[in-house]
């Protein structure tokens, strides 16, 4: 009986929850550990939602609330796009659209030593990973993956960066590839970097293709898969 209860996920999974909804009752799942992500909070024997969004569940025991917003709340292991604001002796100060400025240690680069500290001017665009995101502390970033390799992190040159909601950037990163990127990828060649903080960077051969890709992505937020296809095809026709 107990085992069954523990295996049974909350009935709210993949449903819309609003702040205050009791998502899980802990008394029914004794002897099992669950992991909570963003938007959930434990109150005595219950888990309640703290923000409006869709409750997600990942096997075996992870719960979190997904929502779309303009504001980004930093979370460890998120890949984000940041803008360098200032350089200090030990850290670069990077704006990642969060409530506080994030720190990027000058040594957090592949093969980084005191001797080869990179030089970034103010306004440089970086693709970085959030390492620490504790409350009451500035988030810490890194330009390496967990194995100490650069693996794509670092400075982004040229191209165009635009801001979107966090929901749109999550849609762009989802697999299978979302329809907009799929159709655009068939017709045009471009580079794209999506940050979970709602920043998207696009680079392509000509400015016109970059603008087309950027606008197609921005328009696609509220459209369904079929609508996205039609919209992209219309845009492509207009340009050609």
């Amino acid at each position: 009986m107990e085992k069954k209860a523990a295996a049974l996920p909350s009935k709210f999974v993949d449903q819309l929850v609003v702040p205050g909804d009791v998502v899980l009752d802990l008394t029914t799942l004794a002897n099992s550990t669950i992991k909570l992500g963003g938007g959930l909070r434990q109150e005595c024997d219950t888990i309640t939602a703290m923000k409006a969004g869709v409750l997600r569940f990942a096997k075996p025991n992870k719960y979190w609330v997904e929502s779309s917003q303009k504001r980004y709340v930093p979370c460890a292991e998120d890949h984000v796009l940041g803008i360098v604001v200032d350089t200090k002796a030990d850290n670069f100060l990077v704006d990642i659209k969060g409530p506080a400025i994030a720190f990027l240690p000058v040594l957090a680069f592949e093969g980084g030593t005191r001797r080869n500290i990179p030089k970034f001017e103010v306004g440089t665009l970086l693709y970085v990973r959030v390492v620490k995101a504790n409350t009451g502390m500035n988030p810490e970033l890194s330009c390496m993956d967990a194995n100490g390799k650069a693996s794509g992190f670092g400075i982004l040159k040229d191209g165009y960066m635009f801001e979107s909601s966090t929901g749109l950037s999550r849609m762009l990163l989802s697999s299978p590839t979302c329809p907009v990127l799929e159709i655009l990828g068939k017709k045009l060649s471009f580079e794209i970097a999506v940050g979970l903080n709602g920043r998207v960077w696009v680079n392509g051969a000509s400015p016109s293709s970059v603008i087309l890709v950027a606008n197609a992505i921005m328009n696609s937020e509220t459209l369904s898969g079929a609508q996205q296809r039609i919209m992209v095809e219309k845009l492509l026709q207009r340009v050609q």
């Binding site: 704006d95 409530p99 506080a100 400025i101 306004g123 040229d158 165009y160 400015p207 603008i211």
Partner: protein, 319 residues
């Protein structure tokens, strides 16, 4: 925690370079051509004298109110018109709550100049008792979302709100004709303001490369531009006000070209504002009809209504 640093909006060097280089080939980042205006939508609130204007991502709300006050000493038989701006931090994190910033003051001044110095609103008709009592019209402009080109959006919001504003009718009575009666809306139909013409603001942005001019700059283009020019014109082609900001020098020929383009755009926008106001007025008139018919239906209770109907029915049969 460095909170303050996180509260400002920043632009990357990539964007700056991209916007400037693509403008050289007449491309703008939102897919417009240099002299295309963004999509304009005008909505009205339920009350008279409130408007909501959306210009692309920019969102401005206008609200007009009137008050009876003693006039200024030097103009005893003229009412007054004042513009107040409210930049909420919700629209842009760089706006501070409370104290109006440089932008807020400039925006208010441009709109004020366009409306007042061109005498677009007839202030003499706002006088009730010479030297004693006049209407003071106050226009509140709330910036709800900053997507660039606040001046034009706020100006349209002010015009739309002024066009739909209605003040209560006042009459004089008493032995010496010095007693003022303010009639309620039910008693006498409130009067609209007398608006002679519509001064529409059109903003241009100039970039560091020569001869690159765009109309209606977005938030990002405003961060890159080196100078801007706001021309306020009406449909007759009269230039009511010009405001030039930023350090860059602009050739006389470019200014004249801007004015020509602006007069076309101003005519275009005037017709949009007038259409919106007209449709609001028809909706308002329909609402009036319903309101007058409503009390009869409500005041009569069910049984009486049935009786009446049956009587009517009987009469019809007799006839």
């Amino acid at each position: 925690m460095e909170q303050r640093l996180a509260n400002t909006w920043r632009m990357s060097v990539n964007d700056k370079k991209f916007i400037e280089s693509s403008l050289l080939s007449d491309l703008r980042v939102d897919g417009r051509r240099p002299f295309d205006y963004r999509k304009l939508s005008i909505k009205f609130g339920r009350e008279d004298g409130s408007s909501e204007v959306q210009l692309g991502e920019t969102h401005v709300m206008g609200f007009v109110t009137g008050q009876l006050v003693p006039p200024y000493r030097d103009r005893p038989n003229e009412g007054s018109l004042a513009i107040y701006t409210e930049f909420s931090p919700m629209a842009d994190p760089s706006f501070e709550a409370g104290r109006p910033g440089e932008n807020a003051v400039e925006l208010g001044r441009i709109i004020d100049r366009g409306l007042r110095e061109s005498r677009a609103i007839d202030t003499e008709s706002l006088c009730i008792l010479s030297g004693k009592l006049v209407w003071s019209i106050r226009v509140d402009l709330h910036i709800l979302d900053n997507g660039g080109n606040l001046v034009d959006a706020a100006n349209i919001a002010a015009l739309a709100a002024l066009l739909t504003f209605r003040r209560p009718e006042c009459t004089l009575s008493g032995d010496d004709g010095q007693e003022v009666i303010v009639h309620s809306a039910e008693e006498r139909e409130p009067l609209p303001l007398i608006v002679h013409h519509l001064p529409v603001a059109v903003t241009f942005a100039f970039f560091s490369n020569d001869n690159v001019v765009v109309i209606d700059p977005t938030h990002k283009e405003e961060a890159v531009m080196k100078g801007r020019l706001t021309a306020t014109l009406n449909t007759n082609g009269d230039v009511c006000a010009i405001q030039k900001g930023g350090g860059i020098g602009v050739l006389q020929s470019v200014v004249l070209q801007c004015l020509r383009i602006a007069s076309v755009k101003a005519a275009d926008m005037t017709s949009k504002i007038k259409d919106a106001v007209e449709s609001y007025n028809t909706v308002r008139a329909f609402r009036k009809v319903k309101r007058h018919s409503a009390p009869i239906a409500v005041s009569v209770d069910g049984s009486v209504a049935i009786k009446k109907q049956s009587q009517d029915g009987a009469q019809k049969i007799e006839l």
